[in-house]
Symmetry: C2
Subunit: 216 residues, 2 copies
């Protein structure tokens, strides 16, 4: 399967021309996003929690402390929604009405399960670590058995998903182009600055490969 079937759950209601349902559109957004926002329901109340993720094929991995509400809900087998958003610019139309943002977002649905097997948990942590900074898993000290026990890992098979993308300049009403109002885009991007070592890096230990020329 290379695209998700369009159902009531994942169908993009507003501006369907901006939507996509194929993995080739959705997965690069998930992979570029450093964090996601996980939505779940607890006693009728929705919660949205930002967290780090990793993806392998159709599986998303999330991690947290064993006591976290998020992991408890996932463990109970309730449906969750995970959203990934990349902001690319402010779209300044001549009219307020047509002003917008350029963005790439993905909305994913599924039911999570909690991993218990230490080898599977370790693998999931490697995927999450590599998602944040490629190469870091080998550079860093990997989890001890005790640390692994203290970490809860949720795996979620992506059942359904959609992407929504806006790009390009504003689209104003034709008559508004005659107005003496500036129209265009203010591009935004996530800037990575110079790595800042803490005060306790051993002499001779350089900035590692995972952080040199870091980009997503």
């Amino acid at each position: 399967m290379t695209a998700f079937p369009v159902t009531a759950r994942n169908r993009v209601r507003r501006l369907p021309a901006r939507s996509a349902y194929d993995k080739a559109a959705i997965y690069p957004i998930i992979d570029e996003a450093l964090i996601c926002h996980v939505g779940f329901v607890d006693e009728g109340q929705p919660f949205v929690i930002p967290t780090i993720h990793g993806r392998q094929e159709d599986t998303l991995f999330l991690h947290g402390a064993k006591a976290s509400r998020l992991l408890k809900v996932v463990q109970s087998g309730q449906p969750v929604c995970i959203t990934f958003t990349l902001l690319d610019g402010l779209v300044m139309a001549r009219s307020v009405f047509h002003s917008s943002m350029n963005y790439r977002s993905a909305v994913v649905f599924g039911v999570g399960r909690v991993l218990e097997d230490p080898a599977q948990k370790l693998h999931a942590l490697a995927v999450i670590t590599e998602h944040v900074a490629r190469g870091r898993w080998q550079e860093a000290r990997q989890p001890t058995e005790q640390e692994l026990n203290a970490t809860a890992i949720a795996a979620l098979t992506i059942e359904s998903a959609s992407a929504k993308v806006r790009s390009g300049p504003p689209v104003d009403d034709e008559e508004d182009y005659a107005l003496p109002i500036w129209g265009g885009v203010l591009p935004l991007r996530q800037q990575v600055m110079e790595p800042a070592a803490d005060g306790r890096v051993k002499e001779g230990v350089a900035v590692p490969a995972s952080l040199r020329h870091y980009h997503r």
Copy 2:
């Protein structure tokens, strides 16, 4: 009231030392964030949708098309959760276990109402527009009656909220500082690039004040 009472709903479960409940901590996060992630429940299924917002005192404004699912749910008086996240850096500890991110996030709870009065809607749109780019409301062509009719506005009084913040270098286990592993922070920020005019800006119309030296 300058702080939100701590209840089962807004209490930060994990790492409570990072939490805050006062408006002086929460509102600047809401105001700096360009977008938010709105969580709501529709027939038992959670949804998380990224959208633009504006805040005035204890009220959040969201806008959308009349047909949007988000606005329909808000109109029905169901509880929503709105989360705002600012990412400040990757915290590269020597151990995978203590690796983290620096962030500022705010989680807000409330029940929305849909604004019907045109003057109130216009005011909310001004708040949202000014949130994105201060000064833009006066620069741009403001909504016509027809445009205003086509726009749905939700107002949500913030009933409960919390903030969670992590900053600073990694905190490694004492014995790990002896390892020849780099530890520190890769700082991140939202970079604003040069405004890019579309091809139809009238001669003599300069980049407006709202976009010159834009920062949040």
